[in-house]
């Protein structure tokens, strides 16, 4: 009844319990249990009366796609490519939205979609003063890092260190809780570019923390060489996510090159500072070569945060990209989602808000220059000099329209226009009711 192609490992906790069994006997019990889970997971659970329950984590960190064929077989996968490659039409692939579960009765031809996680509920809670809120966030981060060390500490632990505040705070906490940590940082390696400011910042942070830094340079040819995998496993064609996926693809390849996986060994673990920008609405459009890139809605910080958090549903720039190399990713800020979302608008967005909060959370763990530093993006490099992924792609003609076409080719999207309906309002396409007659599998296996 279910053909599972779920190959991204699940990493979730119910309080201190690592990967507890999720009950499916009744939806009330399931909903109550899911409300306690934090972490990242995509589950396909057989349920009573020959039904199937597909569950996705609260923020949509792990992806969960499915299609139902005419025989009633549900095919579930983390990667779109795992469905379309054997012949499932792209147009019949749906996603389970973040924080939801779907109950499918393929024979009775019914489907119900239910939400178990409400980001708004966390956001509406009254928050204390900034210092008290920061203390609470720090306490929970310490708790989660202790859990990560206890349950995953035997692995080779890497931190993706951009040189910014978010990843530096993760590196600092990782250094505290894990016995050995290696920081990885990407840098553009064109002959025309000196080491960028973000790489210099990453070096200073690594020195301060006493962790070894592995600098991963990439030439323009290397950037273009990973583009297809970034599109395919980053599961998105939109510029920001593709550019981030390229950085991660380059780092993932370096991690595997440094220590190829050995039989029976647990996979490497990468900790990243991702999600903090979404949870604090700390994004701004960037200008590059006279053009605005990474456009954002012109709305207030709370509305922007809600949109960015919802937008985590679509795009797989970290977990998907590292995952296809057999590397697990944990984004610790996603584990303190309740505490971060409870911060009121006054604490998020706006000039210096992130720095003020980060200083309160972990000021003593980080070098002081970080709090005065202007944000730089790894995919752009030094805003004042040449180099970076954006420039490389522009020079090669790989603009937004090209990325759409390339994604469509790779994911066998027959009508490129259908991409507009595939990601809408930051969410992958989802189903509210069973679709009759749209679930046919075609291609070589069915012909």
């Amino acid at each position: 009844m279910v053909e599972s192609m779920l190959r991204i490992r699940n990493l979730y906790w119910a309080d201190a319990r690592f990967q507890p069994t999720v009950p499916t006997e009744d939806t009330g019990g399931l909903t109550a249990m899911l409300a306690t889970l934090r972490g990242q997971f995509s589950l396909a659970l057989p349920a009573p009366r020959d039904t199937l329950i597909l569950v996705r984590d609260p923020l949509g960190v792990n992806k969960l796609f499915f299609a139902i064929d005419e025989a009633g077989t549900v095919m579930a996968a983390n990667y779109l490519v795992d469905l379309v490659s054997p012949g499932v039409p792209f147009e019949t692939v749906y996603s389970v939205p973040a924080g939801h579960f779907v109950e499918i009765d393929p024979h009775g031809r019914t489907l119900s979609l239910r939400r178990y996680f409400h980001p708004d509920a966390a956001a509406r809670r009254e928050a204390p003063a900034l210092d008290a809120a920061a203390r609470r966030i720090r306490e929970h981060l310490e708790l989660w890092f202790a859990r990560l060390a206890a349950d995953l500490g035997r692995r080779r632990v890497c931190v993706s260190l951009s040189g910014g505040l978010d990843s530096s705070m993760v590196a600092a906490l990782a250094t505290k809780h894990f016995s050995s940590v290696t920081a990885y940082t990407y840098g553009y390696a064109g002959s025309d570019a000196p080491e960028s400011e973000d790489v210099r910042s990453a070096r200073r942070v690594a020195d301060f923390l006493g962790v070894s830094l592995r600098f991963v340079p990439a030439t323009p040819d290397e950037v273009l060489g990973v583009l297809e995998d970034a599109l395919c496993y980053g599961q998105d064609w939109r510029e920001f996510n593709v550019h981030c996926a390229i950085v991660n693809e380059i780092i993932a390849r370096a991690i595997v090159r440094d220590a190829p996986p050995a039989g029976g060994e647990e996979p490497p673990l990468v900790l990243t500072g991702d999600l903090m920008n979404e949870l604090l609405a700390d994004y701004a459009p960037l200008s590059h070569a006279g053009r605005e890139i990474y456009t954002l809605p012109r709305v207030g910080p709370e509305r922007l945060r809600a949109a960015l958090v919802q937008g985590l549903d679509a795009g797989d720039r970290e977990v998907g990209v590292f995952g296809h190399h057999g590397i697990d990713v944990v984004q610790p800020y996603g584990l303190v989602v309740d505490q971060l979302l409870s911060l009121p608008a006054a604490f998020i967005g706006g000039e210096g808000a992130k720095q003020r909060l980060a200083r309160e959370i972990a000021g003593e763990l980080l070098p002081s220059f970080l709090f005065a530093r202007t944000k730089a993006r790894a995919q752009i490099g030094d805003a004042t000099g040449p180099g970076g992924i954006v420039s490389t792609l522009q020079r090669a003609g790989c603009d937004a329209r090209w990325l759409r076409r390339a994604f469509s080719r790779r994911l066998v999207v027959e009508d490129e226009r259908s991409l507009d309906g595939f990601i809408r309002l930051g969410r992958y396409r989802f189903l509210r009711e069973f679709q009759h007659g749209r679930n046919r599998r075609h291609g070589p296996e069915a012909d």
Binding site: T295, L296, P297, R417, R427
Partner: protein, 107 residues
Amino acid sequence: MVPKPTEIGEALERFLRSAFSIREGDSGFDRDAQLYDSGFVDSAGVVELIDFLESTFDVGLQDDDVFSDEFTTINGISAIVHQRLATRVSPDEATGTDAARVAPPDR
């Protein structure tokens, strides 16, 4: 008083033309035009559109609304907003109009 769908549509059209620089003479743009597929509103623009609707009409839109097939045209969106407003007031009030309430803010 709940504004009529046509009044909501007028306000929404004015907002879209202003916020997304849609020319008066654009022959592809009318109240049945597909806003997203035709490129009038991009993914960031949808968030602004929802923000406009919720703040102008004091209405809370749900997932069922914004992910419905109807939420793709001005007429469809206007019908959804009207219905949301009408279901929270008495049936008598739902037929009335209040032009002042539907006037969009200057941008």
